[in-house]
Symmetry: D2
């Protein structure tokens, strides 16, 4: 069994609790009540909902289940802020999350304070099983921090005023990286998947298992905006033969012509971000592309997407908390590749689409209880992404980490790295 988070060492749990919870508060500090309430599409959730739902997780699985006499802040919140745990009973329909103008943002902040207070008082007395759930809850909250930022970005992008949530960052360097280098990967039997010895991993990351790699190489860096513009200008979005059949239907049905948030104006391409509308930086990795787009680009380039195993095997010896990740409130900024031709930017900057469907690793078993609904039930129709992005909180990432989205989704910081057969 791979539920490694059950065994996590948790000496610093209280510190980590304060740090993670505090980051959510900091990220949402500039929000108005309305900013925090509106839901921009069924795939996204209001910021207020993220703040409340992550608190509900601790209130339910730690306080309710393990702290005698805990009194819930408001018993009606369980219905409002359960996300998808069928075992936890009925819940508010996802597409209606944006109707909840009450409780207000201030009330949700009070809810957070109530839960934090109870959690910090209880922390020292929690049994080991509860401490494991707290650890899970913190990783869960980090996931929601990234979603919170990308959901806000989507919301603000629908406002014709194009407001900037954060002040514009200093301009990124625009030295164009050199051409792609190909890094040969391991071949033959390798082991991937969580081995249960890391401080924490989600159930779906394990178990550790053997798999076979075939001769292949990975590009030393992600594809840049500049390279993507070449694809666009070569008619990439209008050439059926580059595309998966479902992708071609999507491109035509949705009139897709560029990455999400891009617009072509008289001054060339711009993109919208949490810092408002800015010129596209040709040196930075392309972001906000779907799997369909990533696959079409690879096809156009005569290459392919890496498999999850190829990617994970290449990342095994790279420190996961390196790279360009989220360290605090502010606008996530994508960095150009540095000089050199070594394998780089594996962690941070952009999530990298793999060509692997999100299915269970051999021997996978879901965690027991309600938290077992966390990952396993989403294992159809989605693809694996690896490596985290500039919006992923530092400390959250691992080589074995499996993010997953449907192939048409692109409101996350999703990009691509090419692979090829040797």
């Amino acid at each position: 069994m791979a539920k490694s988070w059950m065994d996590a060492r948790q000496d610093d749990l209280e510190d980590r609790y304060r740090a993670v919870r505090g980051l959510s508060d900091a990220l949402t500090a500039p929000l108005s009540d309305a900013d925090a309430t509106v839901q921009s599409m069924p795939d996204a959730s209001p910021a207020k909902w993220h703040l409340a739902h992550t608190s509900w997780f601790f209130e339910t699985f730690a306080l309710r289940d393990h702290v005698a006499g805990y009194k819930p802040f408001d018993p009606r919140f369980a219905f409002l802020f359960n996300s998808y745990y069928e075992a936890e009973g009925a819940r508010h329909a996802r597409p209606l999350r944006g109707m909840l103008t009450r409780p207000t943002l201030a009330e949700v902040r009070a809810y957070r304070a109530h839960v934090d207070d109870a959690m910090l008082r209880a922390m020292g007395m929690l049994p080991q099983a509860a401490r494991a759930l707290v650890t899970l809850g913190l990783h869960h909250e980090q996931q929601h921090q990234e979603l919170l930022l990308t959901d806000l970005l989507h919301l603000f992008s629908l406002n014709p005023l194009e407001p900037a949530l954060f002040g514009a960052p200093a301009a990124a360097p625009v030295d164009l990286p050199g051409p792609l280098h190909w890094i040969e990967g391991r071949e033959g039997l390798v082991e991937i998947g969580d081995d249960g010895r890391t401080a924490f991993a989600f159930d779906c990351e394990g178990p550790r298992h053997r798999t076979v790699l075939h001769p292949h190489a990975l590009a030393h860096r992600p594809i840049t905006n500049g390279e993507w513009i070449e694809f666009v200008e070569d008619g990439g979005y209008r050439t059926a033969s580059h595309w998966l059949s479902d992708g071609w239907s999507w491109v035509q049905g949705e009139n897709i012509e560029a990455p999400l948030y891009w617009k072509k104006g008289e001054q060339g391409w711009t993109r919208f971000g949490l810092d408002g509308r800015q010129p596209v930086n040709p040196a930075a990795p392309v972001a906000h592309i779907s799997l369909y787009e990533a696959d079409a680009y690879a096809s156009w380039a005569g290459a392919r997407l890496p498999t999850e195993a190829e990617w994970e095997s290449a990342a095994l010896n790279i420190p996961p908390s390196g790279g360009n990740q989220l360290d605090g409130p502010g606008c996530p900024r994508l960095h150009p590749a540095g000089a050199g031709s070594a394998l780089g930017q594996m962690f941070g900057d952009v999530w990298e689409w793999t060509g692997s469907a999100y299915r269970p690793h051999p021997g996978f078993r879901a965690a027991q209880g309600a938290v077992g609904e966390y990952n396993g039930k989403f294992m159809s129709g989605q693809f694996v992404l690896k490596g985290g992005s500039a919006a992923t909180p530092r400390g959250h990432m691992r080589a074995s980490y499996r993010n997953f989205f449907y192939p048409h989704q692109r409101w996350q910081f999703t990009g691509l790295r090419l692979a090829k057969d040797l």
Copy 2:
């Protein structure tokens, strides 16, 4: 030409401006920023949008067009807050109105103050054409006051917490009114429609014209909740023969079983309102029913809906500002019929569905310019409602007033009064 509002006497224009604008402010005083921002369905608009759009009307048609040197509060607002005036250029898509978390409610209130300040300074110097547009703008704002309340009601109804915007009113009297009495109407040639001599009328209310009434009678009061429950319990919603064909499709497709906001619990029927969830008062007029429901009830009762001409002719000598209408902030409350058998409750309480399609009166011409888009272009597929409701600002109503909605819509305070052939 029927643009009677062009000739309105306007001595009290400044006072009326203050009163009408002030009521909008008062009605929205209890709203949070989020309450004012969220759009609950494409048919509805956010409260903030109502506040801004009505201000845009004055800013555009009075200040921009008639006040030299007026500087708009924010030139981008024209795009955001134009509703449907094609002549005024591109505008924000209606279903996306709820995405506008910025400007905030506070900023919109500042916008209102800016416009009010400019308007009140300019008022004395406005040419007659502009004063007519101000009058139009005030009636326009009164319409939006009612929509604002019903849109908020719809929004709050989607919140599982069922918040009450206003404190619950004192319980209404529950003396059940006696049986329906039938009031014989005029027969033969009558004149209806605005004659251009009222202080104000919308273009679609005129011109005054002759029409023929056939022998008929109107019920002396609207149908009550108690009577409606009989219809429900007699299987009214499950009996195809009562329904228009489109209505039957609607009932089955949407699983309609009762008026909007009604729920059946162990204690009997309740309804949601701006005062929260409350027991259905059997003595009060039924509200929140569609034309389809009204027509089905009439069919079940062996009667029919009044025509617009029958209704208007009967109302000609009744003071329009009488009845139960909106006098200030607070929860609109529907009154039971009083004792007696005279024609009553023609104005106020509930809008009364007529059996007349909303089409132009003979000789109708739309007003010139952008404001000519106000009414005429909506003349397909909708039905006329008459008399106003408890949410209609007092002073806004006339016998010739023509409200119009699609036959499936029911989020307004819509009810019915029966008619029959003699």
Copy 3:
């Protein structure tokens, strides 16, 4: 009560039965089994279904109800071929009519023969009530003859091969008619609606009633294709101000740029018909336009659509079986207006959209029993059309005849005649 068809004189009923039923057979003689089976859209029905449904009407309301010992051809057909009579029980869902590859066309023809045989044997002995229902059934079948042709036209239009059901007719004369003349209509009190003394009328055509006409004039002929092309080339389909609001949404949502079946090629405009694709004849009346298009044209032309009462009053003294109507199998062909400036082409050629919603005449009561579902329940959301078309069987038309369609529908031979206020 206006059920005038109850009293119809029926001496020639058997002859008329043979003639009407024979025309259905003749119209469908060139069809393949597949042509007769496929449903091209939910609004349309397969030819086989028309053939069977009209037979079911006689089998049910005449043979089953009035002929002792009648044995139905196949008891399962009642479920398949009931159209919308709720009183007659469950029935096959309309959008699935095209799934009925069995019974075959040959079997449906056998069904018709079985019913015809029983009907003709029973005819002499039918009680008066049954004879009235037979008369109704024949008018009902004539309606379906026109639908059958227009449904086939729609089906064939979706076949890229654009097959011609009938051989191309001799080319129509192309002498362009002269300019529109305006014919002043009656003013003041007039009587319209069926008076119960005609040989037959549908229940919705009555009762006869008084109404008021206001000063107006009608164009002496319908608008031609040539005139329509001017509207197109003047940007008529791209100018919001000409359109009803719902119409503008329809034009934009459906990318409407010309009448249904029109295409612009290198040789100019062509249209598809039951004679295949042919050049648009500029002299002939425009057909296959929606109410929205008709209304937009009128608005562009500074005119309006006639009301039903204006049209009917003008038609009262014109023989209804005159004009260009359907006399036998073959391609309906629209005739150019002749020389002269008298009121012409009121009957035949194209159905003329009126500006009147399809609502009950004053005093209307639906017929009793299942056949009472015939008309009344469709009285919402639709507009009245008058006069019949080149596809309407001769003998079927009356001044009081009320056809009705939704404002976006245009697969019938629908055109327009202008009116204006005087």
Copy 4:
């Protein structure tokens, strides 16, 4: 490169051509023109279309490209009967295939005869590349034979008369098979995928490659209808925890309660088939289930679906043309498992859903040219099925064969075999 079909030995090509083409004719002999024309859903195609499209394949890739002077039967057919080959130009929209009442079934049969005549005359002179395409075309036609049967089944199921295309077969034996036995599979490195030495394989079946199997066992036979009824009666369709998240949405959104074509009556469960409506045979394998249902059953049973590699590895030494497959016209009939506990029914009876997403094998390259669009572009969102069914023509199947459908689709003869970790 894995295009093994390029190298196929083809001595018997002419005989095989006659046999395969003849089976299509025989399968469709009982169809009426209408049966062959109607399209029951966008996923399905009309029988006539299958007959024509398979002929278009030979006409295009063999006759047009390799036979000098070949004159197409009708040049317009390329537009009508191209399925999805973008490289071959524009084509008729898939959901409109059912509108093609012309050409008639008789004309399509003439088209087939024309192509067959030209093919058989040319066969001896075809270059090797063309012979490889003929082989591909025959395998392609066999695929369409199975689709043709399942598409007809779907069409007939929508006819309330529930016609039987074929006479009912003799009743199947109903001896219930004994309990499941578990057959331990290979462990460690294995090779799967087409090795290029088989007579024919589709491009997606290769290349041969190594993969790792983890300790596991397969059930010795598929799950039966009787076992499925236990799942139904245990509330399997109403218990969220058994289901993938997308599956649960599907079950609730579509009101799924049993396999496709099943109905519960007073006599128990029945199913509709090409032999009409018949009692469910508890001894036969369950069919017409989606991946979602298969996965939910496995979850309920405490097991899982096999991976493609597990299944293929187990099947490597089993003769693929054994089992219950299609040998000629008539109703496919599913056989109960025989006695014994050896691994059985791997080929034939029902397609077995695997838990493997349909993605490329390592090293996969699509075939060159238009036929390269055959498989690769469908590699997103679908799952692999293995082993063929009772409707798969005998001779068409291989262990490496990869069928693929979306997880909600179930109109094929799709069933399941359980697997478990050891």
